[in-house]
Amino acid sequence: MQAQPPQQASSAILETSAQASVDGSEKKDFPLKFCTVCASNQNRSMEAHLVLSLASYPVISFGTGSAVRLPGPSIDKPNIYAFNSTTYDEMYQELKHKDPRLYTANGLLGMLDRNRHIKGSPERWQDWKVGVPRKDGVQDGVVDVVFTCEERCWDIVVEDLLNRNSPLNRLVHIINVDIKDNHEEAVVGGKGILELAHMLTAAAKEEREKYGEAYMRDSVDKRVPEVLASWQEKFPNLPALWTVGYF
């Protein structure tokens, strides 16, 4: 659909889907599946989506806003698109048509170009049907960790899960990593999220290999607080927040 897969991003996606098809081995190598969330599913969540998928993690991404809002020619004239339906490619073409100079200068075209090679269109968190199988990175439609990129998004996600009444009864860690909404910070935040994903995955593998006295192969869940704390010490400029919720 979104045509011309570019070099690196697409290769990551191919790799991930290849692993997903071999289910057993996927689970062994990737004990955790991730989801990234920001307001418009454009900048921060997509940057994190990219770096996580480049590292071959199963990952999907969402936005919590009511619509996709991109900066326009002035502050009171944003470009607004609908979630789930308008593709990144359509936005790219439209903005390129409107004012190529402006949207190249403010980085929007670059961002949309990146995004259209990662997935089809921005998705809204509230519309996500958790557990319905997907064709992309997370085949079974559930994740173990949700990374939000802003405290407000974390609030929305946690509250949305409360309102959904957890029909799946499935545990999920919701972690906020506070990132300012600009290109540079998104890159920094993406690195932070990737590192956290590495650390959580490492802890999960460790627990899985461990044979305790009473119980064998514990899960990563009890390790999350300590992992998060040591991560926070490494990234003191990305304030973290976490809670244990259920899908």
Partner: protein, 757 residues
């Protein structure tokens, strides 16, 4: 399959899963197919099977009725898997059970006699409940979810059938005479489980240092409560009070580590989102106000703790300040303090500071030297909390600590008594007001006893240090820089303008409803309504601005006054009060019909003030006549014949003058408004006897000199001054006789002309 059978089988199973994810129609079939493998000896396959079972009952793509029949067939496998020792497998089975429990419950409601199925479910339940305490954290998190499901299923849902969710599974579904499911037992079990679920929120990390205080379990518990509160009204109160009693900030008391700080924020935030969610779901609910209060308190407490932490972080010993912060935030359990406070060595006796001069009870009893402590106002705490603290502290105090403290206070007291003459009141109650340290200083003694107790407790934690700092010097605010008279004037005018703008904001109430029912007992300007503000303004203008004070800024003496020495010596109003009067005047004139009441009360105030001043013998220029005439001059030109209400103004002002009557007379001569003028005279003559004579004088004049209103004037004179009428008529008759000829001639000529025409 022969070479690496397990890997091969896993791959096959993976393919099968990919198939059902692609097309859920095959799900039941595949599940039945894998059940034997799941129970087999190969652990890898059991792992896979447990995950698949959990996924089967989670997935939204399989129909709920389908799931229900699958659930019954899977119970045996699940029972077997519950004996596993692997956290991963158990986690999946527990998750699976949480999904299956409501389904089996519903199945039991419709299949009353299937005792065997319920027994299996019961077995799984009891295994999960035992894992809940002892299992690995990942499994316990699943258990929490399972317990929430059991509570939801085994309690009564929304009773209103219109609001009830038909698909919801609850106790309401169970037929009363069910052979297996006993309503009271199920209900009681749910209540018990809820208590157990909430117990984690009652645990206090400060009380039990060995406690495994796991934020994962706590946040997971919190995130499970919203649904119960929203859909199970009878349980809501218990849950909310547990949540509100839970102190998410207490964890920091264990140790001030990065992790604990982070976890503190996470738990606090989780509580907040939960409470907001509950409040939002039912905006008019009974808990909304309480919740918003609690959220505010929580943010304050958090801000305080964070501030405390950032301030105290460099300190080498860190437990103490945190304990302090926590305590101030929420002194929940006083005994906890005993745990935190290192009380190993007996405290050294506090040196008795030399206290001279008056002091408050608070100072007398304060042994703490911590500025934060001494500035803490014990009265901010609710009384029951204070009692808790006192009882707790007394319990946890060592005898020695108490005795040293008492001795310290005692010696202070003796010193103080020696200083102050014993005959007088030992502790002066004033003179220390500026000392912020002791807000309770002027309170009754009873309250001070509580204060003392709080401070006593604080003193224990502080381990009685030096108290020289206690003697804070008196603090006096430096006097403000003085303003130039012009500046003061301008600022005052601005203030007055603001008051006028306030008056306009009120709706005009009807005169009747504005009448105070209190009558003479009414206190002016006691309500901040329109009337109140008008009273303030009029009194500011008349008596408020130190009208007669000799040293206030005087209005410039006019040239006319300079010529006449006597007048110049009269006290003239201050510039400010004149300005306010001008404003009042403009205010009234701008809408005299709507603001007649303002004029009346203002002019009454002026008159009253004039009277008071003249009685006091003050030589001052009376203001009433001046301003009354000014107002009348402003109003009269605009009066219309329909302005009958204006009569009220004339009748309600305190004094009617001759000049005013002249104005009324002029009104009578205006052909358009003559009627109004006559009516005024009539009204005044009738209802204001003191001015009746004045009215009659005017009427007499009108009768005599103005033919056009003669008839009306005659009517009124007839009533009140008939003798004048007769006198005038006599006089006129005489004149007429003298000029008789002329008059007759004129008349005749007129008649002739008429006839010719």
């Amino acid at each position: 399959m022969a070479a690496t059978p397990v890997a091969d089988q896993l791959r096959q199973l993976g393919d099968a899963r990919a198939l059902v994810l692609g097309d859920p129609v095959y799900w039941p079939q595949v599940l039945h197919g894998i059940l034997p493998i799941v129970s087999g000896p190969i652990v890898e396959l059991r792992r896979w099977g447990a995950d698949f079972l959990a996924e089967t009952f989670s997935t939204p793509v399989v129909d709920i009725n389908e799931k229900q029949s699958l659930a019954v067939t899977c119970l045996d496998t699940m029972v077997r898997l519950m004996d596993e020792k692997e956290a991963g497998i158990l986690k999946s089975v527990v998750q699976c059970s949480a999904s299956v429990y409501p389904l089996v419950f519903r199945y039991m409601c419709n299949n009353r006699d299937d005792q065997a199925t319920w027994d299996k479910m019961d077995m799984i339940k009891s295994k999960i409940l035992s894992l809940w305490d002892s299992g690995p954290v990942g499994v316990r998190l699943g258990c929490i979810k399972f317990v929430q499901r059991v509570i939801l299923v085994q309690s009564r849902g929304v009773t209103d059938p219109r609001l009830a969710d038909r698909s919801e599974i609850s106790l309401t579904m169970v037929p009363t005479n069910h052979p297996v499911l006993s309503l009271p037992a199920l209900d009681a079990e749910a209540q018990g489980l809820l208590d157990r679920l909430l117990s984690i929120l009652h645990e206090d990390p400060r009380l039990d240092k060995t406690l495994i205080y796991d934020p994962a379990l706590i946040t997971a518990t919190l995130n499970n409560l919203s649904v119960i509160v929203k859909t199970r009204a009878p349980l809501a109160h218990k849950i909310l009070s547990a949540v509100m009693n839970f102190n998410p900030l207490a964890i920091i008391a264990k140790a001030n580590t990065v992790k604990n700080r982070l976890m503190m924020q996470c738990m606090e935030k989780t509580v907040r989102v939960l409470l907001m969610n509950i409040a939002r779901a039912n905006q008019n609910g009974p808990y909304t106000a309480k919740i918003s209060q609690h959220i505010t308190r929580l943010s304050q407490a958090k801000a305080e703790v964070l501030e405390e932490l950032s301030r105290k972080r460099p300190a080498p010993s860190q437990t103490q300040p945190e304990a302090e912060a926590i305590k101030r935030m929420k002194v929940e359990n006083a005994q906890a303090q005993a745990v935190i406070t290192p009380t190993a060595t007996p405290p050294p006796p506090p040196p008795v500071a030399v206290i001279t001069g008056p002091m408050t009870y608070g100072q007398l009893y304060t042994l703490s030297t911590d500025v934060a402590m001494t500035s803490f106002d014990g009265q901010q705490l609710p009384i029951d909390l204070v009692l808790q603290i006192i009882v707790g502290s007394i319990n946890s105090l060592s005898q020695q600590t108490l005795q040293t403290a008492i001795a310290a206070v005692n010696s202070r007291y003796t010193a103080l008594m020696a200083y102050v003459p014993p005959a007088s009141v030992p502790i002066p109650q004033d003179g220390q007001v500026s000392q912020a340290a002791q807000p309770g200083a002027e309170e009754t003694q009873g309250e001070q006893v509580e204060q003392r107790d709080i401070e006593k407790k604080e003193e224990d934690e502080e381990e009685e240090e030096e108290e020289r700092e206690l003697q804070l010097g008196k603090f006096r605010l430096p006097p403000p820089t003085s303003l130039a008279p012009e500046e003061m004037h301008d600022i005052a005018i601005q203030a007055i303008d603001r008051m006028f703008s306030v008056v306009d904001q009120f709706d005009k109430t009807s005169l009747i409803s504005r009448k105070s029912k209190l009558g003479a007992n009414r206190l002016a300007a006691s309500n901040w309504d329109r009337e109140g503000w008008i009273a303030v303004l009029t009194r500011l203008a008349t008596r408020g601005m130190g009208d007669t004070a000799p040293d206030t800024v005087k209005e410039e003496v006019k040239g006319k006054d300079e010529e006449n020495g006597e007048i110049a010596q009269m006290q003239v109003p201050t510039a400010l009060s004149t300005a306010i009067r001008e404003k009042l005047y403009n205010f009234v004139i701008a809408d005299f019909r709507g603001r007649m009441d303002v004029a009346v009360s203002w002019l009454n105030e002026e008159w009253y003030n004039d009277q008071v001043m003249s009685r006091a013998g003050v030589n001052r220029e009376p203001q009433y006549r001046k301003w009354m005439m000014k107002v009348m001059d402003g109003i009269f030109p605009f009066l219309e014949s329909k302005d009958r209400l204006f009569m009220r103004l004339l009748s309600e002002i305190p004094e009617v003058t001759v000049e005013l009557m002249q104005k009324v007379k002029m009104l009578c001569l205006d052909p358009d408004r003559a009627m109004l003028g006559i009516q005024m005279l009539h009204y005044l003559a009738m209802l204001r006897p003191p001015v009746r004579d004045m009215c009659m004088d005017v009427l007499e004049d009108l009768y005599q000199n103005h033919v056009e209103v003669r008839v009306q004037a005659q009517k009124l004179l007839q009533k009140w001054r008939p003798e004048a009428l007769a006198a005038i008529d006599n006089a006129q008759n005489n004149t007429q006789n003298a000029n008789g000829m002329t008059a007759t001639l004129v008349q005749r000529n007129g008649a002739t002309t008429a006839t010719i025409n």
